[in-house]
Structure formats: structure tokens, C-alpha cells
């Protein structure tokens, strides 16, 4: 009986495995189970940074007011900066969605949850893509969908007022450098073609100095370094990242050296972030599928080895 079963499995193992994989992936797609994952430190770091944007903006405004009260020189410049800061009292998040369709399945949940978090807290969002024109359309649909999905409970989110998607421009290093000086010169118009000067939201955002947090979600090599060199090192803006599980290992050193406030590792990062926000979504669903499939592959490897050793013992 047992040998018959083993022989049958040996012939049909492919189809059995395929069915199991489909189950592992399909069932979680229809479920929203609350996985009890405790966010790792790296994820919590980014979550706290986003959560703290309104407070950071408030502190910046208070600081500037104090500075204004004490200085006589340069008053005009400080005033205009204060005016800019006051336009977005809940702060501004710059989100760079640097991925193409091939790494999108892993990174979209991260982008979605960060956007949702920002929209829920009334934080203004500037979204860009600096690395590839292929992902531009995809990034727009992610931003628009997040805006549409949060508006029910948290007030209407309008493009150009509460968020703006600037699309793609080539030459990422120089582009980020330019954004440090003047975003509207770097991009000129948003993805739909509106000139940035005409957008109400951009009145309060001139360059990276007016951004409270830079979040970069990417699967590319080189892009994180560019953001780190410009946004963190040159302009000293807090910087957080989301990455594919494959490339996370290369960038953990930056987390330890405090160059990054947080780092989301792949689908798991998104799931942890959703847990931190207490809003399970695509990441949690995806993580369930991941967990099931990883368990499956481990079981399969174990089974393969057990069968292998049994066969070898039978033969000898």
C-alpha cells in the first residue's frame, strides 16, 4: 500500500505540487486573516517616522517661529519659508516608487500601505519615479487608487491639493540633485501635464528642505545610493526605504549606521507595516501566501530527502 502510494507520487509529483502551490496562494487571496506578526525594528522605524511627520512639521514651524523672533537679518527668506511650512501643517512625504512591473508584486503592497498611512494622517504626498519609465503608469495607478480608497473615512483626497504624482524624468542622480534645489525646475509638470506652479499643493513645497520624510521603494541597485547621497548626506532629510527581499541584505548596514530611519524587507515588510498601522491589506494577504508556500517548500524538500534515503536503504 505504502509503496504503491510512493510510486504513484513519484509519477505524479508535479501535478500534486502544482495543486498545493495554487492552494497556498489562492486561499489567502480570499482571506483577510490577522497574522500576528510583531513588526521588526526596521519596519517600526519607518512606521514611526511616517507617524511622526505631523509632529516633526509642527516642531519645524515652532523652531522657525522662534528663530524668526530672534533674528533680524534674513527675515524675508525665513518668512517665506515659514509660509511654505504652514501650508501643509501635517507635513509632506516624498515617496519614490522606483520599481518596474517585474518587482511590482513584492513592492506594491509597501507603497500602498505607506500611502494609505500618509493619507490617513492628512500628510501631503509627493510621488515620483526616478529610475525607469516602464513603471511610470503603474506608479500612477497605485497612488490614485490609494487616494481613492482612503477618501471615504478621511476626507476627499485631491490630486494637486493633497497629493501629486510627478512621473518619470531621466538621469536619476542629477534629477535628485535638482530636486534638492527646486522640484518644479526638476520636473516642470506633473504626470498629467499640469505645470507645477499651477498646483495649489506645490505652493508649499519648493525643494527637499520642505519635505519631512523621504521614502524610497525600489528594487534597483544604484537608486538607493543616489537617494542616500543626496537626500540624506547632502540635504539631511530623514530617509526610509522599502526593498525586495533579495536586495535587503545589501542595505542593512545603512540601517545600523542610522543613515536610514527604517527598511521594509519585501512583502514581509509590508505585512509588518500593516500590522503596525492595524490595517491588514495586500501585504498581510501576501505574507500569508508567502508563509504557506515557504512551509510547503520546506516540507517538499524534507519529503524528497526522506524518500531518497528510503529508496537508498531499500536498494542496499
Amino acid at each position: 500500500m505504502m509503496t504503491l502510494l510512493v510510486q504513484w507520487f513519484d509519477r505524479n509529483y508535479r501535478r500534486v505540487i502544482y495543486v498545493l502551490v495554487v492552494l497556498c496562494v489562492l486561499v489567502p487571496a480570499f482571506l483577510t486573516v490577522r497574522l500576528r506578526i510583531k513588526p521588526a525594528g526596521a519596519t517600526q522605524g519607518l512606521f514611526n517616522a511616517v507617524e511622526g511627520i505631523p509632529a516633526a512639521r509642527h516642531a519645524a514651524i515652532t523652531n522657525l517661529e522662534a528663530e524668526l523672533a530672534h533674528t533680524i537679518t534674513n527675515q524675508e527668506k525665513l518668512l517665506s519659508r515659514l509660509q511654505r511650512l504652514r501650508q501643509h501643517t501635517n507635513g509632506v512625504l516624498l515617496l519614490s516608487l522606483d520599481f518596474d512591473p517585474s518587482s511590482a508584486p513584492e513592492l506594491t503592497p509597501q507603497a500602498e500601505i505607506i500611502l494609505r498611512h500618509a493619507f490617513m494622517r492628512g500628510i501631503a504626498v509627493v510621488a515620483v519615479i526616478v529610475s525607469t519609465p516602464v513603471g511610470a503608469q503603474l506608479a500612477q495607478s497605485i497612488v490614485d487608487r490609494a487616494a481613492r480608497e482612503t477618501q471615504g473615512r478621511y476626507g476627499v483626497k485631491l490630486a494637486g491639493r493633497d497629493y501629486v504624482y510627478l512621473g518619470f524624468r531621466p538621469g536619476y542622480f542629477n534629477l535628485i540633485m535638482q530636486m534638492g534645489e527646486d522640484i518644479s525646475r526638476a520636473f516642470a509638470s506633473d504626470y498629467a501635464g499640469n505645470r507645477l506652479e499651477t498646483l495649489p499643493m506645490m505652493q508649499g513645497i519648493k525643494n527637499l528642505h520642505d519635505i519631512d520624510l523621504v521614502a524610497v521603494i525600489t528594487g534597483f541597485v544604484g537608486v538607493p545610493e543616489a537617494w542616500m547621497q543626496v537626500a540624506k548626506t547632502k540635504y539631511n532629510r530623514p530617509l526610509g526605504m522599502g526593498m525586495t527581499a533579495v536586495s535587503v541584505a545589501d542595505y542593512t548596514p545603512y540601517l545600523h549606521s542610522k543613515q536610514l530611519v527604517g527598511l521594509l524587507p519585501g512583502m514581509r515588510g509590508a505585512a509588518e507595516y500593516e500590522m503596525a498601522l492595524d490595517a491588514p491589506g495586500a501585504g498581510t494577504r501576501g505574507m500569508l501566501a508567502q508563509l504557506a508556500s515557504h512551509v510547503l517548500i520546506i516540507v517538499l524538500i524534507a519529503l524528497g530527502n526522506v524518500l531518497f534515503f528510503l529508496q537508498r536503504r531499500n536498494r542496499s
Partner: protein, 236 residues
């Protein structure tokens, strides 16, 4: 993207059915997969034609060349060089077509030789730069590390392990040495051990990304196809 117009709906259905046909290959090679494969190959070839015209030949060569011919009197010397070079390239490219004639087929060696020469010449210094120098520089680490005046044993051990790996794997790749003595056999084996550990880790690391891809396809079938269709007809 939820289907908004009728064309979107038709598209989502096409995409969903084609996806299912691809998955059916897992069960068995069948007529639906053969059809999908034929469509996929055909569409991708058509797409390749359009792309090489719309994103390559047309904007990069044809339009500027036409512009050059139209306003040639106001062009600089560099532009003349450019035009001559492009015309020469066209000439080299046309030689490819000689393959259609058995007797003149040797002319097609020119474009092949040209592309090969350019590619190889361009890549050689870059290979030295990125694949040899950068890797060497990253490997130049001290065997023992001192941080703030104290020996850092953990970091030292890490460096030793890394260096042992780099040297032994490099040794494994020696081809013209007879490795029959026990020492070199041991070093080679250490090299193989490093390789295998690395490969196992890389394989396992990729599982997550691949499962995510499949999840995304399933999500597409569920959200855009099933829910989207119901939504389109106001059933949801």
C-alpha cells in the same frame, strides 16, 4: 486597474483567459496552451517590430536624418560627420540582406563583425572596472580588525571567513593545475563548499519574489477579472 470601458472589459477577459491557458500548461501541454504560445510569440514579434521602429530607427535616425537633408546648409561639421556615419551604418546594415543570396552571403559578415567589435571594445574596460577592480577593492579587508583600540573578534572572524572563501573559490577555478595533492584538493573542496552554500542561499532567497509574482496573478484574476466584471455590470 478596474475595467472602465467596454474595451477594458474585453481586455481583462482576454488577459484572464490567456493567463489561465498558460497555467493549463502545468497540467499538460494542450491545444489552448499551443494557441496562447502562438499568440504570445506573434504579438511579441509584432511588438518588437513596432518598438524597433517607434523607439529606435524612427526617432534616432530617420527623423534627424530627414531633418539634416532638409536643412543641410545650416548644419555644423559635426552634423555632417554624424550623417555620414549614419549613412555608413545603414550601408553596413543593408549588407545583412545579402544572406538572402547564397553567393553573396559572405557580405553579411561585415555587420556581424561590426556589432561584435563595438560590443567587445566597449565592454573590456568596463569589465576591468566593475568586475575586477571593484570586486578586488571590496575584498581588500584586514584579517584582524581593531575598533577604538580594542580587537574586534567578531568582525575579524567575519573577514577571515570571507577572505578564505574568495581565495579558495578563485583557486577552484584554476584549470591548468593538476590538483592531485591533498592540500590543493582540500582548498578546492573548501571552494566548492562556499559555492554550494552561496547557491543554496540564493535559490532560497528568490522563492519569496517568485511566490509574490504568482500571488499578483491570482490577485489579478480575483480583483480585476471576477470582481471587475461584476462591478462593470453593477452586480457588486
Amino acid at each position: 486597474m478596474m475595467p472602465e470601458s467596454f474595451m477594458d472589459l474585453a481586455g481583462v477577459w482576454t488577459a484572464a483567459l490567456l493567463s489561465l491557458c498558460v497555467f493549463s500548461f502545468l497540467f499538460k501541454d494542450n491545444i489552448l496552451f499551443k494557441l496562447t504560445e502562438a499568440i504570445f510569440v506573434g504579438v511579441s514579434v509584432g511588438y518588437g517590430i513596432v518598438l524597433s521602429w517607434n523607439a529606435g530607427l524612427h526617432p534616432k535616425v530617420v527623423v534627424p536624418l530627414m531633418d539634416f537633408i532638409r536643412n543641410y546648409h545650416s548644419k555644423s561639421r559635426a552634423d555632417f560627420f554624424w550623417a555620414a556615419y549614419m549613412l555608413a551604418s545603414l550601408g553596413i546594415g543593408v549588407l545583412y540582406l545579402s544572406r538572402f543570396s547564397p553567393r553573396q552571403a559572405w557580405l553579411s559578415r561585415f555587420p556581424m563583425a561590426y556589432l561584435m567589435g563595438i560590443g567587445i571594445g566597449m565592454s573590456m574596460p568596463l569589465t576591468i572596472q566593475t568586475s575586477i577592480f571593484e570586486q578586488m577593492r571590496a575584498t581588500l579587508i584586514p584579517l584582524v580588525v581593531k575598533t577604538n583600540g580594542a580587537w574586534d573578534w567578531a568582525a575579524s572572524l567575519g573577514n577571515i571567513v570571507l577572505l578564505l572563501g574568495v581565495f579558495s573559490v578563485l583557486y577552484y577555478f584554476f584549470f591548468s593545475v593538476k590538483k592531485s595533492d591533498p592540500v590543493s584538493q582540500t582548498v578546492s573542496r573548501i571552494g566548492i563548499a562556499y559555492l554550494m552554500l552561496g547557491f543554496g542561499a540564493s535559490f532560497a532567497l528568490t522563492v519569496m519574489a517568485r511566490i509574490a509574482l504568482l500571488s499578483a496573478r491570482m490577485q489579478f484574476l480575483k480583483d480585476e477579472w471576477m470582481e471587475g466584471t461584476l462591478r462593470y455590470f453593477n452586480l457588486l
